[in-house]
């Protein structure tokens, strides 16, 4: 009884936070708040909060639309307006939603942007996305932050300085102009302190999957856990409270030796521990997850939960170097890391979390993730001799989620894992 109550508390907290944000957005004008559209990777939540703006994340709206089965209609609307079938479906879903009145996931209208803050991190499509939105919202101020790619697997001082100069000479003055609020570095530092706390906590939460059985699923449940830290609450006490509560609940599960909670209740037996690369499919999220938990497969680490920031390698927002910290944060998001870095990170996860296998969910319309995944998979398979699986789907376009194809592929993959486990057991016995 107490276990369920504790579990619900973190979920309730998150629900309240998100509802509060959408309610504030719906009443932005009355509240006198400016609205800032931005993206999850490289999101400058602390800076947005320093200027008392409300954030809108178009890709979150898109995935929420998909989970509510509304994305197909939005995508069609965009395609009727010259958007290609072959480009990012987040973009089309967002454009379609806008064309149909911009009603957000809670049923409330999302206000038009005062600022389009493009912290262009790890995804070229973001740039094209805001070029498109600028044509739709000509009065919005576009603030562009170019985040250099970690092409040589490093963040050099000159890369950081390039970003800091952009913050100082372009981003902050423009935010001051739009909001009429003077930049307050002490306020930013306070937010950054809270960010670092939340980052410590979420890192600890994702480390708990090292336990056997893993108390959580780091992919299907992980996408909920990263919600607050990614959608504008990083840098707030609310986020710290949420993650403290969540961690407490997870520790109770560990003490009780319990596995992850699924939509159909607790997972009884942990048969396979997997690391997953790539975003999930949102249109059939539940069905997709079910294929895994029905087979006793738990995801112990995923790259997708690192799109809004990689915290497991030790990096944290440093309040003493506020603008440098923001710069490093942007550069340190998963898709802004080069392919060998991504491979190393995934190999580390497979080894440290004692995973039995590695699965790539290749997303048709997300080249930032997908281009290079086959080479990554081969390298991981060769160097760790770990069984690899490969499936294809899409973010929010239901036309590209083929349940039976994915199920068949995964069933074959799990059979392979089963065989391998048997062989390993036999060898141990021998």
């Amino acid at each position: 009884m107490s276990k369920e109550a504790q579990k619900e508390k973190s979920m309730i907290l998150q629900k309240e936070m998100i509802e509060g944000l959408f309610s504030d957005l719906a009443n932005a004008k009355e509240l006198g708040k400016k609205v800032c559209y931005t993206f999850i990777p490289g999101n400058l939540s602390e800076l947005i909060r320093t200027f008392d703006m409300l954030p809108v994340y178009p890709e979150i709206n898109a995935l929420q639309s998909a989970m509510r089965k509304k994305s197909a209609a939005y995508i069609k609307e965009a395609e009727r307006n010259a958007h290609s079938e072959d480009v990012c479906t987040y973009v089309k879903c967002d454009v379609g939603m806008m064309m149909k009145g911009n009603i957000g996931p809670t049923g409330q209208k999302i206000p038009e942007p005062d600022v389009l803050l493009l912290s262009y991190t790890g995804c070229f499509t973001f740039l094209k996305w805001f070029e498109t939105l600028k044509r739709e919202y000509p009065n919005a101020k576009v603030i562009m932050v170019h985040t250099p790619y970690q092409e040589n697997a490093e963040m050099t001082p000159e890369m950081t300085q390039y970003m800091v100069k952009q913050f100082k000479e372009e981003v902050i003055p423009q935010m001051e102009e739009v909001t009429g609020i003077k930049y307050d570095e002490a306020k930013l530092k306070r937010h950054l302190e809270l960010s670092a706390k939340a980052e410590d906590l979420i890192n600890e939460i994702f480390q708990t999957t090292k336990h056997k059985p893993s108390p959580i699923d780091a992919y299907f449940a992980g996408v909920y856990y990263i919600g607050p830290i990614n959608i504008g609450f990083r840098g707030t006490q609310e986020a710290v409270d949420y993650y403290q509560e969540l961690l407490k609940e997870i520790h109770i599960r560990i003490e009780q030796g319990l596995g992850p909670i699924t939509p159909e209740g607790e997972m009884k037996e942990e048969k396979y521990r997997l690391v997953v690369e790539g975003p999930p499919n949102w249109t059939s999220f539940r069905e997709f997850w079910k294929i895994f938990y029905d087979m006793g497969a738990v995801i112990v680490a995923s790259s997708y939960t690192k799109v809004g920031g990689v915290y497991d390698l030790g990096w944290r927002h440093d309040p003493e170097r506020p603008l440098e910290a923001l710069a490093e944060y942007c550069m340190n998001c998963y898709t802004n890391m080069n392919i060998p870095q991504r491979i190393d990170l995934l190999k580390k996860c497979i080894t440290e979390y004692d995973a039995d296998g590695y699965v790539t969910n290749s997303i048709k319309s997300c080249n930032s993730f997908s281009a290079g995944q086959l080479g990554m998979m081969r390298e991981i398979e060769d160097s760790l001799e770990v069984p690899v699986g490969f499936i294809e789907s899409d973010l929010v376009d239901p036309r590209y989620f083929s349940y039976s194809n994915i199920k068949n592929r995964l069933e074959s993959y799990f059979q392979m894992l089963e065989q391998r486990k048997k062989m390993e057991k036999e060898m141990e016995t021998a």
């Binding site: 072959d86 973009v91 094209k128 070029e131 170019h146 000479e169 080249n367 290079g372 086959l374």
Partner: protein
């Protein structure tokens, strides 16, 4: 002076030589020479030249190279060029090229740089992060730092310390190169029958795989030839091609568009060779700064450059007007994010401006053009026959 026919044949052979024979020979002519491969769209070749190396354009395998190994690296829904570049790399066509530069175009080319690193292809691999900040003191400085990295890589191979004089000399050579190409396009604007678009394409593309001095000599001769009133005018409309700046259409497709009734008076096929509009200052003590400023202030529009302060639809519309074109053909490589994501922006604007257009997608290896030819032919006919009718976009 050579016959035009002979020059054109040479250019065609150079353009599609996947063994990069001329570059290879250039390297073997003298010990310590370095070849630096670069992918589309644009790279400031001046700096490679000034460092005593030779830039070599790598534009994929086209319809010449059968893809077998490359498909194992890229899913079916990713454009064709990365798999054909992998194919030519794995088949050792690039073995004599020392380093590789991947300019920031899109996520696919960016991640291909990582695959090159992972596969340890070449002595260096550099993803060239072009600035998306267009203030000289911010983006311009960052761009200079990026160029310095490339020079450092080359110096590690050939020991050459680049001088101001060498850079200014290289800038002059490439200025001349762009002037000559520009001259060809200006002639074609009024007399497109003097040199077909297929021929122009080969003449420009050949310059990406030979020393710039040799290319300038070729261009000088071509310009002399087309000053003469050669060729026979045909009843064709004039169009601008947009969207084929990275993965290149097969030569047959380039030819088919013109055969179907459209003189192509401007295009972005070999955009990198024409990226900088006008000259780069070759007289300063800060030549890298000159190159950076030219990119920031004098670049052609591109789907890979953030444009809200200088909208691309207005810039393309100006090209259409200046060239006296009747319409635009949007030709995007299949699954090309930058080009396809720009399509609604262009098309919505052109609907309002009354600029006629059609669009299609291609892949570098397609060699059946019947459907595209019919589409282009219909577009041409509709303009020729009903020029004064109300505009209806196809």
């Amino acid at each position: 002076m050579k016959e035009l026919k002979e020059i054109l044949q040479e250019c065609k052979e150079l353009s599609f030589d996947l063994n990069f024979t001329r570059a290879k020979n250039w390297k073997e002519e003298k010990e310590g020479r370095v070849l630096v491969g670069y992918m589309p769209i644009y790279f400031p070749r001046e700096i490679i030249h000034a460092a005593g190396a030779m830039p070599v354009g790598i534009f994929g395998g086209g319809d010449i190279k059968q893809i077998i190994k490359g498909d194992a690296y890229y899913q079916s829904y990713i454009c064709h060029i990365p798999r054909s570049i992998m194919e030519i790399a794995l088949d050792k066509h690039l073995d004599h090229i020392d380093g590789f530069i991947f300019p920031s175009i899109c996520d696919v080319i960016r991640n291909l740089s990582g695959i090159f690193k992972q596969q340890k292809i070449g002595k260096f691999v550099k993803y060239m992060d072009f600035p998306q900040n267009f203030l000289p003191e911010i983006g311009g400085v960052f761009y200079q730092q990026e160029m310095q990295h490339v020079l450092k890589y080359i110096k590690e191979l050939n020991g050459v310390e680049v001088t101001i004089e060498a850079l200014n000399h290289s800038i002059e050579l490439y200025n001349r190169n762009r002037q000559l190409i520009d001259f060809i396009y200006r002639i074609r604007q009024d007399y497109p029958w003097r040199l077909s678009i297929e021929e122009v394409y080969c003449v420009v593309r050949a310059g990406t795989v030979i020393p710039v001095e040799e290319h300038n000599a070729i261009l000088e001769q071509v310009c002399e030839h087309i000053k003469e009133d050669i060729g026979v005018p045909q009843d064709k409309i004039k169009v601008v091609i947009s969207g084929a700046f990275c993965e290149q259409p097969a030569l047959g497709l380039i030819r088919a568009i013109e055969e179907a009734g459209c003189y192509v008076v401007d295009d972005d096929y070999m955009l990198g060779s024409r990226m900088i509009l006008g000259d780069v200052d070759a007289t300063t003590d800060h030549p890298l700064e000159s190159i950076a400023i030219s990119y920031i202030k004098q670049s052609q529009y591109s789907s890979s450059i953030y444009d809200v302060h200088n909208p691309k639809e207005n810039r393309l519309a100006k090209i259409v007007k200046d060239r006296g074109a009747d319409g635009v053909i949007f030709a995007a490589a299949s699954f090309c994010d930058p080009s396809l994501l720009d399509a609604p922006i262009f098309q919505n604007a052109f609907d309002k401006m009354g600029i006629r257009y059609i669009s299609f997608q291609f892949s570098e290896n397609i060699n059946q053009y019947k459907v595209i030819k019919e589409q282009v032919g219909t577009f041409s006919d509709s303009i020729k026959l009903w020029e004064n009718e109300e505009v209806v976009s196809i």
